[in-house]
Amino acid sequence: MYCFLRFSILLVGLIVSAGSYAVNAAQPLTTADDLGPKVEQPIEFPHDRHAGDAAKGGMQINCMYCHTYARRSIVAGIPPLQKCIGCHQNIESVRETPRIKKLFEYWEAKKAVPWKKVHDLPDFVRFNHERHIQRFVFAQNKPVQEACGYCHGDVKTMTVARRQKPLSMGWCVSCHQKDHPVDATSTKTTHGPNDCWQCHK
């Protein structure tokens, strides 16, 4: 009899404690790195060469030099071919490398490069680059690479970009729930919007 009661009390206790742990312990999702698949691009674009640290042979070009729409559109955008050519027609040193040759082939055919999407959100999700860049880069004065890196990872060390973060809903929410200072100097904080329609369309 008492054995039975003891057993059931134990069981209930176990379930309760496991449940409460589970409820509170889902946090690791927030920091988990979740490497996406390797994406074959028409041209193997070396992000490390363009944006990487000078010490490692990079040119430290600002992300938004090429992904110029990020600050004013919901998408960051791929630069028009014109922009690649604008620099590369003056860079003789790499003019004959296979990748650049391919680039000029596209240019001469007046054909846009068919870049593949690396960070592809589901179609029912509306992610606004502009708001994030405005908030972190312009209001909080965070370095561009850091701000972009919140979601895109350490792109400056990659050649072809590859997804590093899970980009799952919980992952988004984890950041939206954090308190972020409203600008670089203020101690006032707010957190990201919580409305469903902020991100779901």
């Binding site: 009899m1 039975f4 312990a25 889902a26 999702l29 899970p166 992952w171 929410v173």
Partner: protein, 454 residues
């Protein structure tokens, strides 16, 4: 008037009679089983069609979003209640006449819950997303909406189903041991051995068993009441005219007990006939059962009238319009059929002559359940057809064959489960019948025999 259980029946005879029902089935069994499977096949076919094409094939529409699935869902949930009534409530009330019949009633509870659960799935537009309803830690970081009666439903049904299964199983353990001891080979032996959990009938085991059984019984009673109250709040919590009624929970519970009792009568007669359980499922028991059914039918009728009356005396013109629509609109034949089957027909049960007349009872009990099914449908469809907003009224949206097919198949599913149960597990509780016989014989010793009925 038939005989009640003989007090002098040998315990071995009980074992023998009951275990006989587990013997290899006759041909008719297989035929019926096949028919049941064919019915399930129809339902599965319909569901596959609906799943791949979309809910539209069920022929509901934007103003009439629920229909037979929800009606039948409530019907099956309701059916499950009397098992609990018989086994748990009457157990606590020491009504010993329940003992020969509670086992199959309890099985019926479990199986009708299993059937009802399927309707929740069938009803969903995106069945493949059903796990969104469950609260579990997930990568989306969202919870279900705990305000929604549907979430309560999910909890209530899951809890009730698991408790019912547990109750059924626990109550069966001593009998399983008997089965184990009387069968000598094959898969049955293995099954009973595992399931009887090493039952040997020691005092300690009996003591633990009694307490466990009692505990679950106590736990189950509020659960049973709450389950149908929660199902009722699916409706009562909404603002649909005709649903937004406080008396819905008791009304639903009464309806549930009513249809369950009627179903027990039906199954009682079938089992008594098929397994030749005349010795155990006796006519005096039937008589009690019928009287109980009659009482519940009257309670239900009363609550039904209260519902009508409160609409009638209320100020809600919309609800009044809807009631008139039910009684006079295109649903009127079904509405009056429900009144007839649910409230008029049971008056027959008040007559002694019919209380033990099995063929009549068989037909009547089935008709009572038809009435109860109609009642659920009359709650759903006419309300949608004639709601708050006249522009979207919709008086001729009849369920498509897909809906009927799935409803039809659900009876096959229930039959299949029940038939398999009857052949695998003892459908009469042997140890409790022995108890009953024992107690009665003790009582007899102290009392002179009285002439007449028990």
């Amino acid at each position: 008037m038939g005989k009640d259980i003989r007090e002098d029946i040998a315990w071995a005879q009980i074992n023998k009679d009951v275990l006989k029902s587990l013997e290899s089935p006759r041909r008719m069994y297989w035929v019926i089983l096949f028919i049941a499977i064919a019915m399930i096949g129809v339902a599965v076919g319909c569901e596959i069609y609906q799943y791949t094409t979309g809910m539209g094939v069920a022929n509901k529409n934007n103003s009439h979003v629920w229909s037979l699935y929800i009606a039948t869902f409530i019907f099956w949930i309701g059916m499950s209640h009397s098992g609990t009534l018989l086994s748990a409530i009457l157990h606590l009330m020491h009504a010993d006449w329940r003992k020969p019949i509670y086992r199959f009633a309890e099985a019926m509870t479990t199986f009708s819950l299993m059937t009802a659960g399927l309707f929740v799935l069938v009803h969903l537009g995106r069945l493949w997303m059903v796990y969104y309803v469950m609260p579990y830690p997930n990568e989306r970081w969202v919870w279900p909406n705990f305000q929604s009666p549907l979430v309560w439903d999910m909890f209530a049904i899951a809890t009730y189903l698991s408790s019912s299964v547990l109750f059924l199983y626990v109550g069966m353990i001593p009998d399983l041991a008997i089965c184990r001891d009387n069968i000598h080979a094959g898969w049955r032996k293995k099954l009973y051995t595992v399931m009887s959990l090493g039952w040997e009938g020691t005092d300690r085991q009996w003591r633990n068993f009694r307490i466990t059984y009692l505990t679950i019984a106590c736990f189950l009673i509020p659960l049973a009441v709450s389950v149908h109250s929660i199902v009722a709040s699916d409706f009562a919590m909404s603002n649909m005219p005709g649903w937004h009624v406080t008396s819905f929970p008791p009304y639903f519970v009464a309806g549930a007990l009513y249809s369950g009792c009627a179903a027990i009568i039906t199954l009682f007669i079938i089992l008594r006939y098929v397994f030749k359980f005349e010795e155990y499922m006796t006519l005096p028991i039937m008589k009690k059962l019928v009287r109980l059914t009659f009482a519940i039918a009257m309670v239900w009728t009363y609550l039904n009238l209260i519902e009508f009356a409160s609409v009638w005396y209320g100020h809600d013109q919309t609800a009044k319009d809807q009631l008139i629509f039910k009684a006079t609109g295109p649903y009127a034949p079904y509405f009056w059929a429900m009144i007839f089957f649910g409230s008029i027909l049971p008056l027959m049960l008040a007559f002694k002559r019919f209380q033990t007349h099995l063929p009549i009872l068989f037909v009547v009990s089935i008709l009572l359940n038809v009435g109860m099914w109609l009642e659920r449908w009359m709650i759903i469809s006419p309300s949608f057809a004639h709601g708050h907003y006249p522009w979207t009224w919709d008086h001729d949206q009849w369920p498509s064959l897909v809906q009927w097919g799935i409803v039809f198949g659900s009876f096959g599913w229930f039959t299949l489960l029940f038939m398999v149960f009857c052949k695998v597990f003892p459908s009469v509780s042997m140890y409790e019948v022995k108890e009953m016989v024992y107690h009665r014989s003790l009582a007899l010793k102290h009392k002179p025999a009285v002439k007449g009925d028990y």
